[in-house]
């Protein structure tokens, strides 16, 4: 085990997969000399050269289109979209092309394509550089989707994605790049579709995504001091979603809080919650609570952004509400 940052873990995954398979290439804006805006690919150009680490113009549609065409014809591209807000200029390639090509072709091709991007606020980057758009992708059949919450998963999920013959999207959290965690020295893969029980508990289940896992753990620790036992589950991947682990937990606790940074309305929290309502209706003793951003564009001023975005205090309050609920 080595303690390393989330950024370094992602870089290791990229490097190992570049070493493992000559067909793996990186495509993105400013990813070469510059190492990417978040410096994830720093150093890879030196090691692998411009043939494999490919800088592009500011042309997200062309980038994704080229990656799709390359994946359909034998390469295994890994694309970096600098901020997930920028998917908006090129959703067609994600949704009408990558997600549907295999199906439209009657199963005749595979698209081993990995798309990495960054998500989230808390940096005063304002309305167009702070969004969490995982709900868009979860709604489109044909795309796999992961939101790693720690260095171990960031590396292991990415490595699995690169080996996957399907289009996979990984949304990395900007606020996590500098956080540290243990990463095995030997190669490993984290399977998609297996949730992680981050903390066991018996009173309330908290399903948390991305950096809301840390906030939820903080909340759980705080609540533990008050004698409240919180189970924290990180689904890790939304497609496929390991709903079984979540349902089992709710069958035990009877209470559920779903926490993500994306705004509440139309967020994936509703989907996860509804699947639980459907599968564990009789076990629920209180309404499901959702924690997420208040419905608003993300403001610039830190004081306003803090007001909009959720954190551990919101998780605590939500847990409390499920416990206080009196039928």
């Amino acid at each position: 085990m080595t303690v390393m940052t989330y950024r370094e873990a992602v870089r290791q995954a990229l490097r190992e997969e570049l070493l493992n398979d000559e067909r793996v290439i990186l495509i993105g804006e400013d990813i070469a000399e510059f190492g990417g805006t978040f410096k994830v690919s720093l150093g890879l150009l030196d090691e692998f050269g411009p043939r494999r680490i490919r800088n592009t113009p500011i042309s997200e549609t062309a980038i994704l289109g080229a990656a799709i065409g390359a994946a359909a014809t034998g390469l295994r591209p890994i694309v970096e979209i600098m901020y997930s807000d920028f998917f908006a200029v090129a959703m067609d390639q994600m949704v009408n092309q990558a997600a549907k090509m295999r199906y439209m072709f009657g199963g005749k091709i595979s698209l081993p394509l990995t798309i990495r991007s960054t998500m989230g606020g808390r940096r005063s980057a304002a309305a167009q550089h702070s969004q969490c758009l995982e709900a868009w992708f979860m709604h489109i059949p044909g795309l796999k989707l992961a939101l790693p919450s720690n260095p171990y998963d960031a590396k292991g999920l990415l490595k699995t994605a690169v080996r996957d013959p399907n289009p996979t999207i990984i949304l990395e959290n900007k606020m996590l790049y500098n956080t540290k965690g243990e990463v095995p020295d030997e190669p490993y893969f984290v399977p998609w579709g297996q949730a992680r029980v981050v903390r066991e508990g018996k009173d309330v289940t908290v399903v948390a995504l991305s950096d809301m896992v840390d906030f939820s753990m903080k909340a759980a620790e705080q609540l533990a001091t008050e004698g409240i036992s919180v189970e924290v589950i990180d689904p890790r991947t939304l497609v496929p979603l390991d709903i079984d682990t979540i349902v089992r937990s709710v069958q035990k606790t009877g209470r559920l809080v779903v926490a993500h940074e994306a705004c509440v309305t139309g967020g994936v929290g509703a989907e996860i919650a509804m699947q639980v309502v459907y599968r564990a209706f009789d076990y629920l003793v209180a309404p499901i609570e959702r924690v997420g951003a208040k419905d608003s564009p993300i403001p610039f001023s830190p004081i306003l952004e803090r007001e909009i975005l959720p954190d551990d205090r919101d998780v605590i309050a939500a847990v409390q509400r499920t416990l206080d609920y009196a039928a």
Binding site: G65, Y103, R163
Partner: protein
């Protein structure tokens, strides 16, 4: 006044060009009829009148060169070697079709023929073709990759981004614009001020050419030039082929936006009749051409019968083919 066969085009190639155009024409006329009779569901955009572009361009390609197409894709697939029976079955929505009935006319594809699909999003294929070109370049294969698209598509952001990327990466991409004068109902003068779309190549510092899209020999030669350049590392080319679609944008289009006279004037420029004259003038017996036509007709009849007799997909297959099964990783 009949043109002579260009000396750079061997007679056997000339005959193949004729046959391909005729295959496309007869296929399209057949599906027009089947569509009118309710045999083919969905939308139908036909290629009638534009046959010389697909036929000429694809003749300049090898089987392992890639193409990608548009909503108007039958001609491209036929020119790349698509079989009538599997195409017809696809258009009928049968499980024996090229895409098991999942794609239909607007998504018909056959990767085994290096045909990366019709595409119902205008412009999208122009971006995707660069990936096929990249694979070829990256793996050191001397393949090229061709995107077909319309005059209307040349106004999409995808066109611009894709040509620029092909230029900076020096990809073996060939962009063939089928300028048929209309984007759906919108005449070219209403959707762009330029007359020659080929001038847009200047914006990417890549070579271009303008070709009479109703002269199959000219299209063939222009594409051959671009292919030769691309194969030898010379990068992308934009080719504009000026042509015309004879039928509506889709079957059922009332076409109030253009005059009968305009259509008739273009019908007189029929690429197939024109090429037939060239061939006859070059000494090919009429009977040989008629025999080709006849064979195509028979093949089409068999294809229709095949499609009609083919089973429908089973509803249980509806959700198959979304994901490729994932191998276990250690």
């Amino acid at each position: 006044m009949t043109e002579a066969l260009d000396s750079r085009i061997p007679k056997e190639v000339a005959l193949q060009l004729y046959e391909t155009m005729q295959r496309i024409r007869q296929f399209e006329l057949t599906v027009v009829d089947l569509f009118a009779r309710g045999k083919i569901p969905g939308f139908l955009h036909t290629y009638v009148g534009e046959e010389a572009v697909a036929a000429g361009a694809c003749k300049a390609l090898r089987p392992d060169d890639y193409i990608i197409s548009t909503h108007r894709g039958h001609g491209h697939l036929i020119a790349k070697g698509g079989q009538f029976d599997l195409m017809m079955a696809e258009l009928f929505g049968r499980r024996t079709g090229y895409c098991k009935g999942k794609g239909g006319s607007m998504h018909i594809a056959e990767p085994a023929l290096c045909m990366l699909g019709a595409n119902a999003i205008v412009g999208a294929g122009i971006a995707i073709i660069n990936g096929a070109a990249l694979t070829a370049q990256y793996l050191g294969l001397d393949r090229v990759a061709v995107a077909f698209f319309g005059d209307g598509a040349s106004n999409t952001g995808a066109f611009h981004e894709a040509l620029n990327l092909a230029s900076v990466w020096n990809l073996p991409s060939i962009f063939i614009c089928e300028n048929n004068g209309y984007a759906e109902s919108t005449p070219q003068r209403q959707h762009q001020k330029i007359k020659d779309i080929a001038v847009r190549a200047i914006a990417y510092d890549i070579p271009s050419s303008i070709v009479d899209g109703n002269d199959v020999g000219a299209v063939y030669l222009a594409t051959l030039e671009a292919v030769t350049r691309a194969r030898s590392g010379g990068g992308p080319t934009l080719i504009e082929a000026k042509t015309y679609r004879w039928r509506g944008h889709y079957e059922g289009d009332p076409q109030m936006y253009r005059s009968k006279a305009e259509i008739e004037a273009w019908e007189k420029k029929c690429p197939i009749a024109r090429w037939r004259s060239v061939l006859i003038a070059s000494g090919i017996p009429v009977a040989e051409l008629d025999a080709i036509d006849q064979r195509i007709q028979e093949e089409l009849e068999r294809a229709v019968a095949f499609a009609e007799q083919s089973p429908w997909p089973d509803p249980s297959e509806a959700r198959a083919d979304i994901f490729t099964p994932t191998p276990e990783v250690a």
